[in-house]
């Protein structure tokens, strides 16, 4: 019977991991010199430990992330201050101009007629006078995107020409993100021109989609200037609709 049979696997693991008292270690060393099989068992355990260390010496780098949290906090602070000022200003202006806001007409976007305004007789509704329109883009069809931008422009022109207050937000997620990516957008100039012309227009890109592109395809998304990032496109759609925004899906 070999001497090595005296040593269990657990005991030899503890020996390799330097978990034994000096006396026990000495006993193993003594036996290793006498028994080739025991020597081989110890060598195999050491080799396995070395292999594990080798396998994780250089783990893959963690994904680079945009500091969305910090940016969002800065944005929130600025937004909070600006919103407070606007609220006060809006209340003052609203009181002065309440009587002027009495004529509104139905708006047609594409083939779907949409009544954006409440009945003129409902005066109380004009205390918050904006027409709020949410346009959702989740596809990358170039023809459709071009038509969608045409509709956005028509809508904004209509509101401006008819002297109505309005806000239009284009929420972009999924494949639609190509519309506002620097490297893929076929409408970069058009979008910038619209942003210059209409300060009540917002393009909002979904952070979840940006993260997913990075995670699944390794694409580091760079957005066109002026495009804001929102935490989740779907959440934004729900929030806005709960706030009374009209929803149009492209």
């Amino acid at each position: 019977m070999n001497e090595e049979k005296h040593f269990s696997d657990e005991f030899l693991n503890a020996f390799v991991d330097d978990q034994l008292a000096a006396e026990e270690k000495g006993r193993v060393y003594l036996e290793i010199g006498r028994d080739e099989t025991l020597n081989r068992r110890v060598c195999e355990l050491r080799k396995l430990r070395d292999l594990v260390q080798l396998a994780y010496r250089n783990p893959p780098a963690p994904p680079v992330r945009q500091r969305a949290g910090a940016r969002a906090r800065r944005f929130n602070l600025r937004f909070g201050i600006a919103a407070s000022l606007l609220l006060v200003l809006g209340a003052l202006i609203g009181a002065q101009f309440e009587l002027l806001l009495t004529t509104h007409a139905p708006v047609t976007v594409g083939a779907a007629p949409l009544t954006m305004s409440p009945h003129p007789a409902d005066r109380s509704a004009y205390r918050i006078p904006s027409n709020k329109v949410l346009i959702h883009i989740a596809r990358d069809d170039t023809l459709q995107l071009g038509e969608a931008l045409d509709e956005v422009e028509s809508l904004l022109r209509y509101y401006r020409d008819s002297r109505q207050n309005a806000r239009v937000e284009v929420v972009i997620n999924g494949k639609g993100l190509e519309l506002v990516r620097v490297d893929t957008s076929a409408f970069a100039d058009r979008i910038q021109q619209l942003q210059r012309e209409f300060d009540n227009l917002t393009f909002a890109a979904c952070q979840n989609t940006i993260d997913r592109l990075k995670r699944e395809q390794g694409i580091l998304v760079r957005l066109l200037p002026g495009v804001v990032v929102i935490d989740s496109g779907m959440a934004e759609l729900m929030r806005r609709q709960n706030q009374g925004w009209s929803y149009i899906q492209v």
Binding site: E10, A14, L51, V52, P62
Partner: protein, 183 residues
């Protein structure tokens, strides 16, 4: 002076946390094989550690303390993910097996694949011992299991790895020569 000492200790603790980041990430990656998830786990670990850094009385115990937090974050992640599964039964998917990895240039991939095939508990023990050099007692404390469990898990893990890996190296002796050269 006591206030000054307190702040210095806190600063020192925070600096040590930042330095531990790479080691935490390496172990987290070994556990979950997903860089993004590993990074999330490390972020969560460091956030919790920074919040509680003043509670750490013995700086020598910092490493075990940090990896305890990491192990808890990892456990919580699986609890959130699958309430009904025992995490020890969860095998991390891997698109290759040790048997399929034959090129000597893929030794690293073979070893990682073999580790991915271990049970979660075995994987945690073997990486804490081999990568971080924790004692069995420290591993028992980190994972909140008896020391006998640590020893049996380690033993089973290495036996499994031996079965998966060593025949491959015997078929390709060049691999072992390559490993020696790398070392």
């Amino acid at each position: 002076m006591e206030i000054l000492d307190f702040f210095l200790r806190t600063r020192e603790a925070q600096r040590a946390l930042v330095e531990a980041r790479a080691r935490l990430y390496r172990v987290a990656y070994a556990w979950c094989r997903n860089p993004a998830l590993a990074e999330d786990l490390v972020q969560e670990t460091l956030t919790k550690a920074l919040k509680k850094s003043a509670q750490l009385r013995d700086p020598k115990a910092r490493d075990a303390w940090l990896f305890t937090i990491l192990a808890n974050c990892y456990r919580d992640y699986f609890r959130r993910l699958r309430d009904m599964d025992d995490i020890d039964d969860v095998e991390i998917s891997h698109d290759s097996t040790p048997e399929s990895e034959s090129s000597r240039a893929e030794v690293v991939g073979m070893v990682r694949a073999a580790i991915a095939r271990l049970s979660n508990g075995q994987r945690q023990v073997v990486t804490l011992v081999d990568l971080e050099g924790f004692s069995y007692g420290e591993v028992a404390q980190i994972l909140d299991v008896p020391i006998g469990t640590v020893m049996s898990r380690l033993c089973r893990a290495r036996n499994t790895m031996k079965t998966l890996l060593l025949p491959e190296f015997q078929k390709n002796p060049a691999m072992v020569r390559d490993i020696r050269r790398i070392k």
